[in-house]
């Protein structure tokens, strides 16, 4: 489930693209009412320190606050901390804390709580989580309680992006009393300082939160201050997209996450609902091509695959106007994007066929699939259909048109991961939401081959490794940018990935839902939402 982890690492360091209109600063009035939201995936835990899946953050952000908060424009704001100060090496960070905050269980928020939360993430109790990877990867040392309302967080190495990360849900602050009290069951009994309190979790059914009336510490970029505007938030777990949509249509839910694009558009065009969409920066939806397994060990075969895909049509068919085609290994809104690398391949079935002919793959028996020496041009694609349902058949169709025989094998994440460790794949699906191109190192540096990282292309090339290493440590921005442009060009010239479309987060909401905005990571900011009567 490494893949899921990667999908979760969405540090939005720069400004994400905001399509939906921002709420503005008009004084909002508490409308009350229950906000029911249809979500696709049931969380495994609501303990921010133990969470790993992208979907969990959407819930956690309502129950918890972090030390800092990142505004939609990317600027850092005070949250539970009022002042923050890194040392010169960016390895020690001092935070002054708010003194008027209480947890939902009535215990006061203080320096001890920060220490307890971070130590909890770093402890044996948490096996693997988003928060843990943030701390451990940067050699977390300890959190020192300076006094009741001042802490110092120490790392063994410099961690220039820690202030950004301190604003993420994964590093939210939990009640030490609750951590102690619930122990292993804390993930089902979360206690934070956020605008909503946890009420109940009915497995496979719903998670209910109610408004925290004492809440008076919203970040200053929010549209209002004080308690949240709706009385209750009910997250209804509806794994089937068709069910989420029906429930919205019948008014049983007011917001549906990840609606089928066609319905979303047609409902918004007919004025029954509004579509909210957020284009994520980072690695778009791509298929990583295994360069170590036949037939994709041949660069011409890989190029022929990319040329066989009509990205414009694919994005349009699968996502309507909610999807944009992707041509490179990072999307245009990402820092350091290389225009050149994205202009190498344009849909050209003829050229694709020519490359395959040249590589010796021809359709001698006229069945539509190409062969060479009696072997079919077979492409093995083990995958969890939950991730690729919207496009897997479409993509197989394009490849089939070019003479590939695509063998899609559906399985769950664990089984797919085993297949990948064993090298039994030609294609694997990947995306990585992040405004900085640095994840490229995890995906393409040869140190990450065979499961050590996620270098599923199995491509070893010294220049690529060097560029990615330098990009990780380089402080000169211009040189760093050049490193990533070099890396993107090498990746695309060698046809290591098959780009498809940029990742969009979409929500469909009823017309009565007011004040819908996205936070920096593309989650609806429920705190500012109200329901019109």
């Amino acid at each position: 489930m490494k893949k899921a982890l990667l999908k979760g690492l969405s540090v939005a360091m720069l400004i994400g693209l905001l399509i939906a209109a921002c709420g503005g600063n008009a004084p909002a009035v508490s409308s009350g009412g229950d906000l029911t939201i249809g979500i696709a995936v049931e969380p495994e835990t609501l303990d921010p320190g133990d969470a790993i899946y992208v979907q969990e953050q959407f819930l956690i952000m309502n129950l918890f606050d972090s030390l800092l908060a990142t505004a939609p424009d990317g600027s850092l704001h005070a949250a539970l901390a009022t002042k923050w100060e890194p040392n010169a090496e960016y390895s020690e960070f001092t935070f002054n804390l708010r003194e008027d905050v209480t947890f939902h269980d009535g215990t006061p928020f203080n320096a001890q709580a920060v220490k307890a939360s971070f130590d909890h993430i770093n402890s044996e109790a948490v096996l693997e989580s988003g928060g843990k990877s943030l701390l451990v990867d940067h050699s977390y040392v300890e959190t020192v309680v300076v006094d009741d309302y001042q802490v110092m967080v120490k790392f063994g190495a410099s961690y220039p992006t820690f202030l950004r990360d301190a604003g993420r849900q994964w590093l939210s602050i939990s009640s030490p009393a609750a951590l102690e009290k619930f122990g292993q069951d804390y993930g089902r009994n979360p206690v934070g300082t956020g605008p909503f309190k946890f009420v109940q979790w009915d497995a496979q059914s719903q998670i209910v939160m109610e408004r925290n009336l004492d809440y008076n510490w919203a970040p200053d970029f929010a549209a209002h201050q004080g308690p949240a505007l709706v009385d209750k938030v009910i997250f209804r777990i509806l794994p089937e997209a068709a069910t989420r949509l029906t429930a919205l249509e019948t008014g049983e839910t007011l917001i549906a996450s990840e609606p089928p694009a066609l319905d979303a558009i047609s409902m918004s065009e007919s004025g029954k609902a509004t579509v909210q969409s957020y284009a994520q920066p980072g690695v778009p939806a791509i298929l990583m091509i295994n360069a170590a397994k036949a037939p994709t060990d041949n660069v011409n075969v890989r190029k022929a695959m990319i040329l066989a895909i009509n990205q414009v049509e694919l994005a349009q068919t699968a996502f309507q106007s909610l999807g944009a085609p992707a041509y490179g290994v990072i999307s245009p809104s990402t820092w350091g994007y290389s225009e050149q690398s994205a202009s190498l391949y344009k849909y050209d079935l003829k050229e694709s066929g020519r490359l395959l002919d040249e590589a010796g793959w021809t359709d001698a028996d006229g069945d539509g699939a190409r062969e060479k020496d009696g072997e079919k041009l077979s492409i093995d694609w083990p995958d969890n259909p939950a991730w690729s349902e919207a496009f897997n058949e479409l993509l197989s169709g394009y490849l089939a048109n070019a003479g590939f025989d695509v063998q899609y094998r559906s399985m769950d994440d664990g089984a797919a991961y085993e297949e990948m460790l064993a090298g039994n794949y030609n294609l694997t699906y990947m995306y990585w939401i992040r405004a900085d191109p640095s994840p490229l190192r995890y995906l393409f540096h040869s140190e990450g081959i065979n499961g050590a990282g996620s270098a599923w292309t199995n491509f070893v090339y010294a220049d690529l490794d060097a560029a990615l290493e330098d990009g990780d440590t380089q402080t000169d921005e211009a040189i760093r940018k050049q490193d990533y442009i070099t890396a993107q060009n090498i990746i695309m010239e060698n046809a290591l990935v098959l780009p498809m479309f940029t990742i969009n987060t979409s929500y469909l909401n009823a017309l009565s839902v007011q004040g819908f905005t996205f936070d920096i990571e593309g989650y609806p900011f429920i705190y500012d939402i109200s329901i019109a009567k």
Binding site: Q204, D412, A415, G451
Partner: protein, 308 residues
């Protein structure tokens, strides 16, 4: 009689023993190493795999492992989910009331609709009405549950807005569509059964005698015929209750209801093996228990079998 009881209970225990063995072996029959499935979420190191194998007791002889599993299961410990680390027994207990409510309402629908229609068909044997009911009933047996559920949602939720399309609690409104989806095909079976058994009873000598004696037709039907015709239905209801408890999978999935059928499918898709084992073991145990009870009740009710 006592002999029969002892024998019946003994076979049930043997069957449950077999069920537990089959369920236990699931984790050993899956391809690949179960530790990999468990560690799926984590970075894998070889030491960790070895450590986990030791921890799970996978290095012990298989009969030791089975003994340990059985012992724990008998004490209500079905292990811990490898997805969210919750105790399996608690997860099942949480889902059970919802499935139970659904099964009961579906059974109520099946018995009432099927019973009335079957009875009327038998009384109007050979008429167009009988043909219609039998036609409906064979259609009811043939319709895929998921298709009918979809049509019901489109009609009652989307078009008419009468009932919720997603269902949660055990209120009438929430149960109506799921119970109907699950209950209608069962009603088809009940209608056929009642009709057949009514026709059978009505041809019996004592009915003819009663009629000859001048007992009013209403009384003949209600007092003599119906009572005897209902005996097989009572047995059927018991078996069907047990079956519905495990058979709500698709309906629970369609209506996003809580329930153990949905839990079974979800844990198979998630490869949450301890959960799969627990759900299957509990469902099968309930099924066997209800079956045994039904058999025993049947023998008590039916002296003819008792004598054999």
């Amino acid at each position: 009689m006592i002999n029969y009881l002892i024998r019946r209970i003994f076979t049930s225990i043997l069957v449950l023993f077999g069920v537990s063995m089959l369920v236990f072996s699931v984790i050993h029959l899956i391809p690949g190493d179960v530790t990999m499935a468990i560690l799926g979420r984590q970075k894998v190191s070889l030491e960790k795999v070895a450590e986990l194998r030791e921890q799970l007791g996978l290095n012990d002889p298989i009969y030791v492992q089975y003994g340990r599993y059985l012992n724990k299961a008998l004490h209500g410990d079905l292990g811990v989910s490898i997805r969210n680390y919750l105790p399996v027994s608690k997860a099942i207990a949480d889902q059970m009331p919802s499935t139970f409510a659904l099964a009961m309402s579906a059974l109520a629908i099946a018995l009432s609709i099927g019973g009335v229609l079957g009875l009327l068909a038998a009384l109007r044997h050979g008429t167009w009405f009988d043909t219609l009911i039998m036609g409906l009933s064979v259609s009811g047996l043939s319709i895929p549950t998921f298709w009918m559920g979809l049509l019901l949602i489109l009609l009652f939720s989307v078009k008419l807005g009468l009932f919720p399309s997603i269902s949660n609690d055990s209120s009438f409104a929430d149960l109506f569509l799921p119970a109907l989806t699950l209950g209608l095909p069962e009603a088809a079976i009940v209608a056929r059964m009642i009709r057949a058994s009514m026709l059978d009873v009505l041809s019996k000598e004592y009915i003819t005698t009663a009629r000859a004696k001048g007992v009013p037709e209403r009384m003949v039907i209600l007092k003599h015929a119906l009572r005897n015709a209902l005996i097989p239905v009572v047995t059927f209801a018991g078996l069907q209750m047990a079956y519905l408890l495990g058979g709500a999978t698709i309906v629970e999935t369609m209506f996003a209801r809580q329930g153990i059928g949905r839990l079974a499918v979800q844990s198979i898709l998630n490869r949450d093996y301890p959960m799969v084992q627990g759900v299957v073991l509990v469902t099968a145990t309930i099924y066997v228990l209800i079956n045994t009870l039904t058999d025993i009740t049947y023998v008590f009710l039916n002296p003819k079998i008792r004598l054999q």
